[in-house]
């Protein structure tokens, strides 16, 4: 698969103040499985500033889970480096107690109650706040005394989230946390999450993955787009939106346009062209009508430029 256009917006763009500290900084992070035959993640360089809620978006198999597992120390990179809260992810309490990870299937011991989980975590974590977990779950009417296997999917996800928040981590990594939830449970889950981030007052950074940006649009202020095992976009959500436009105009030679800007994606219908463009300065050509993009447009544009399946999907949609 040939690499698509790649763009990494500096985290300081649009914020002339001193750059905030980085919760995550990776450099050329690469992970291969099966003795190098399968590349799950290729030369991934991303940064996430502290205190952000970052959406890690990408189609299934893009490497989202691999990246999250590398960041929390569950997997070792084949090459490249990762700095998470100024530490290299590793199997040490000093690192593990700072980072919370929630796997996609939200694994819990199904026969045990939430209360049992709280007590187990209390013995495994140095900064544990069990009362916080109990208060939060009681507030959501999640029973603490029933085996978690008997709870609904939404309740179970709340237990898993409350437990990982009980560690009082500085970084929370959530792998497809809302994928299996119904819309209401999804909303409740994200409400709990945003409330926790607000309470932490900048001391909690969250990265949550999804294959749909619409799931996370409302809560995230930072975006990482992975496709075909590579980073396509990484940066502040508002900056990314401001720097991209959809241009609609006659189907003509785009060479002059491309000298100044980057055409991410091009759709042609008859004599009319629709271009997704990353602007690197003011738009000079008055022949195009410029429209603002939504996060979803942006994500789909980049995805379809790299993933044939998404290009087809987009074509069908139009």
């Amino acid at each position: 698969m040939k690499p698509g256009p790649s763009l990494v917006v500096s985290q300081t763009e649009g914020t002339p103040m001193a750059p905030s500290a980085l919760a995550i900084e990776t450099s050329e992070l690469t992970k291969r499985y099966r003795r190098g035959r399968v590349t799950a993640l290729s030369n991934c360089s991303v940064t996430v500033p502290e205190g952000r809620i970052s959406a890690l978006i990408g189609p299934n198999g893009a490497g989202k889970t691999t990246l999250l597992r590398l960041l929390c120390g569950l997997a070792e990179p084949t090459s490249g480096t990762a700095s998470v809260l100024d530490q290299t992810p590793r199997q040490e309490p000093a690192f593990l107690s700072e980072v919370g990870f929630l796997a996609q299937e939200m694994p819990l011991y199904r026969r045990m109650t939430a209360e049992a989980h709280i007590r187990i975590c209390a013995r495994l974590n140095s900064r544990w706040d069990g009362d916080l977990v109990r208060t939060r779950l009681r507030g959501l009417d999640v029973p603490l005394d029933r085996p978690v296997g008997t709870l609904s999917g939404g309740q179970r996800s709340q237990v898993a989230l409350a437990l990982v928040l009980g560690k009082r981590p500085r970084l929370l990594l959530l792998d497809e946390p809302v994928a299996a939830l119904d819309p209401l449970a999804r909303r409740h889950f994200l409400q709990t999450l945003t409330a926790a981030v607000a309470e932490a007052e900048g001391a909690l950074t969250v990265v949550l993955s999804s294959h749909l940006v619409t799931d996370l649009e409302r809560v995230c202020d930072h975006l990482i787009l992975l496709a075909a095992s590579q980073v396509q976009l990484c940066g502040d959500a508002d900056d990314l939106l401001a720097s991209h436009k959809v241009l609609v105009g006659p189907n003509k030679d785009t060479t002059p346009l491309e000298q100044a800007h980057t055409v991410v994606q091009r759709t042609t219908a008859g004599r009319q062209s629709t271009l997704l463009v990353r602007l690197t300065g003011p738009l000079a050509d008055p022949g195009y009508q410029a429209e603002d993009v939504s996060l979803e447009d942006l994500v789909l544009g980049y995805m379809s430029a790299t993933t044939p399946a998404y290009a087809d999907l987009k074509a069908v949609g139009e």
């Binding site: 199997q91 040490e92 309490p93 593990l96 990870f101 011991y109 013995r123 495994l124």
Partner: protein, 342 residues
């Protein structure tokens, strides 16, 4: 950590304890019955000889156990069952359900997590197997006394300390198979096959060969035979040239006072006059004159064996080897867990 293991395994421990209690009740009742039968037999025979061999024929009458050998077989299964039901799922089940990613991202190391799980399970295996073995050892007391031979595999392998070694290695095999295979059912299959193969191979090739066998020569006229277990050529007769003249593949055999056969084809010409005439088709007991003629010709009994006095030495050696194997298996499991991506 202790709390996690306790929460995960308290049900299994309760079940195991209940099973052990049930076995104990049966064995104690049956054991008391056998002990009193043995005592009655000693009284009836008018002897307090500790073993049947010393009491002459009288003490050899059977003392009936109600549960019999089935119970012995059952206790042989204990370690395999432990390894399969506890050991194999220990890690494999967590990997299958993904709870490793819960456990391995708490504020503790994988090594500590594994030490706790493996440590408590190993301890449980030792307690379980030790208790089962102690029960069987006590229960077998009268039978052991009567037989005077604890090397026979059903007896040696179910008593003393070797069952603890078996349980430890079965558990370690189960845990390591689970770590490497990551799936419970295949891990169980590998544990079962591996354990059975290991035990069979060990019993066949290693078990009583750990120490060099004792070789004893006796006169043909002697009725002595050693206790313990025969090894290598076992009990037979050799001629002056050291050639094995026992066995009866090529001709009929005549039996010496201690029961060893001598093939008639090996009887030297000088002793032919003492052969029965005609030689009965199935052979028969050698006449004293034939025995003395063969002795003069240099024939003698040879015994190659492990003496019964080495019982505890063998128990200790075998247990040690199994514990060492378990340690190696667990080292592999620890290495794999530390290196594994989850």
């Amino acid at each position: 950590m202790t709390y996690l293991v306790w929460r995960q395994y308290r049900l299994q421990w309760a079940i195991a304890l209940a099973l052990l209690a049930a076995i104990a009740v049966v064995e104690v009742i049956d054991g008391l019955h056998m002990a009193s039968a043995w005592h009655s037999l000693q009284v009836a025979c008018g002897t307090t000889a500790p073993t049947a061999g010393q009491g002459g024929g009288c003490l050899s009458q059977s003392i009936v156990s109600v549960v019999g050998n089935d119970f012995r077989i059952l206790s042989v299964l204990v370690p395999a069952v432990l390894g399969i039901l506890w050991g194999a799922p220990l890690i494999a089940h967590e990997m299958e359900t993904g709870t490793t990613s819960f456990a391995w991202t708490q504020g503790t190391t994988r090594t500590r997590w594994l030490v706790a799980k493996v440590g408590y399970l190993m301890l449980a295996a030792v307690i379980w197997a030790g208790a089962a073995s102690a029960l069987v050892t006590w229960w077998s007391g009268p039978e052991n006394a009567q037989r005077g031979d604890q090397f026979q595999s059903n007896y040696f392998n179910t008593q003393g300390i070797v069952p603890v070694g078996y349980a430890v290695v079965a558990m370690a095999l189960g845990i390591t198979a689970g770590v490497l295979i990551r799936r419970t059912v295949p891990a169980i299959a590998v544990t079962l096959a591996g354990y059975v193969a290991l035990r069979a191979w060990f019993a066949e090739q290693i078990q009583f060969h750990l120490l060099p066998a004792v070789t004893t020569y006796t006169s043909l006229a002697s009725t002595w035979s050693p206790g313990g277990i025969s090894i290598g050529q076992g009990a037979t007769v050799i001629n002056a040239a050291g050639q094995n003249v026992g066995g009866s593949q090529f001709s009929t055999a005549l039996y010496m006072p201690n029961g060893n056969p001598v093939a008639t084809s090996y009887v030297p010409a000088a002793c032919h006059q003492f052969l029965p005439s005609p030689i009965p088709p199935g052979g028969g007991n050698a006449s004293p004159s034939l025995v003395s003629c063969l002795s003069k010709a240099g024939f003698r009994n040879v015994f190659s064996y492990q003496p019964g006095s080495r019982y505890w030495e063998f128990q200790g050696l075998e247990t040690g080897i199994y514990v060492l194997m378990a340690a190696i298996l667990l080292a592999v499991a620890f290495y794999a867990i530390r290196r594994r991506d989850a």
